[in-house]
Symmetry: C2
Subunit: 342 residues, 2 copies
Amino acid sequence: MDTNSQQCVIALDAMGGDNAPLVTVRGASQALQESNGRFNVLLVGRKSEIEKIIKQENLNFPSENIIHADDVIGMDDIPTTALKRKDSSLAVCVKLINEGKAHAFASAGNTGAVMTLSTLQLGRIEGINRPALGAIVPTLRNKCLVLDVGANVDLKPNNLYEFAIMGSVYMQEIFNVSSPKIGLLSIGEEDSKGNELTINANKLLRESKLNFYGNVEGRDVLKGEVDVIVCDGFVGNVVLKFAEGLLHFLVRKFKDSAEKSFLNKLRIGISKGILKDILKVFDYQEYGGVPLFGVNGISIIGHGSSSDLAIKNMIFRAYETYQHKIIERIRESIQKFHLIDN
Amino acid sequence: MDTNSQQCVIALDAMGGDNAPLVTVRGASQALQESNGRFNVLLVGRKSEIEKIIKQENLNFPSENIIHADDVIGMDDIPTTALKRKDSSLAVCVKLINEGKAHAFASAGNTGAVMTLSTLQLGRIEGINRPALGAIVPTLRNKCLVLDVGANVDLKPNNLYEFAIMGSVYMQEIFNVSSPKIGLLSIGEEDSKGNELTINANKLLRESKLNFYGNVEGRDVLKGEVDVIVCDGFVGNVVLKFAEGLLHFLVRKFKDSAEKSFLNKLRIGISKGILKDILKVFDYQEYGGVPLFGVNGISIIGHGSSSDLAIKNMIFRAYETYQHKIIERIRESIQKFHLIDN
């Protein structure tokens, strides 16, 4: 297998995620079947475990596409230890890319470890100081990309500016938005409102040639007035996880309400389908994963509790990122919108 | 009227809020009727407008309890301009406190203006460097006080420490929690996770004698494991407003779903009551308002879109704060948990 050949090769960390390797093997097999020859999938991890699942589940996955890796980085391992453990499935995925044997890799494993390995071993795109983690959120109009949602804390204004450039490229290429509107998450709509970071980032964005909408308040994130929202990874992470918590809270309250009376039980039985549809738009499984923006290679990060559907979608996200040449487009865009005082 | 007399006197900014003075006059009248003589209410604002509403609505509110103020600070006015406009309803409320003619004041008006006037003209409690805005949020167990939700940005660790002391006093006195558990909003549960601010605040809280639970992630805010959550006002504000936006998003999606088919319409008609009950726990009207923590006087801040019910409840919150001697309790607690290196 060689990346010089036409076909895109995607390495999947078979051991990454709460439900690995069962769901990763299933997801990889499904993705390969649906690929119609557009891409190939490698499963990286403990060969015997992977083969056992293939047999048990009666899956059709080629044995030569399994790349053995002995070690597994756990969900709770300290990210930097991943640098030393060269035999982990994650380390082997990154190695496959650096050796030109894969074009992209994807993992639902330890996010910190994926970020650390990707940043240090794939390197950063020139002009990007901090890689960012993105999340696709539903809005009343279209989807919106929020970044950073946890890769970085204590940022500088130019970091948010770089995020805006990268987010803009992604929404343009993948979601076909011709001139993505960029919002800056802050408190207060006026340019002068916010903290030191956002007030200065606002100035950079206003002076730039990006399609800057202005500040976006917390309550307007889901309105869909912008296509990209940039923020510090601390704030982005808190908000994203809070959304998760709030949805769980509502589902729980719905259930509690059902248990209170037979009539409520009937009512809820009836409206469950509707609630499910609504919550579906917030379901990460629908999307699968997002690239780690700013690293010099395709590294797709999925949710730890990914199902086989989410894994399959994550592989398709890796393919899209390859097909749309997101890395090259970011490189060009960074040149185009380059900050003079960086 | 004199605060030396036994009865608590509460001044309400009649002109503050999106629906003022109609809802403020209604709410004040209701509160006074339900006070059973425990407190008295003063309506501060344009006398002729207030009297017109009293007449139109056929309310029973004593004319001598209306204190005329000619000027009104608008919702969009720059907070600091409030300092110069001595004839505003807000400025007159604060003056009544400083002259000993009222024990507490409450406003659903321009939050920034209320904070600026309160902080500068009532002063800060000794040992408090930054006053904080709180919000009572529902959880799966009890209610939780989150502070700061917007009064301050770019904080130092000792500010969060002071918030923890004040929040602890409030939950103990008002919600009868014997030893309030304090959580620090961060990314990651481990003490070492977060940004520079939270990592250092974590250390201060760990070394203190406060009942510190540890870091709380965004997804755990509504679980109810803690009674107080402290955070920077930027993060707190974004999260609180995001929650508001997410609930609006869900209601809108439910409505859209109803319009799609007759069967859905039926289903939603049935489950509307349940959804309403669930959303009710998030309704700020139920609570009314919270004190601006750390100022040397009782200043209660309500939501701009307060209804008459919310205004009435806000007045009761002012009375509770007076009755439970929250200012004195905070002063004592600051002495008790004083930071040496402050």
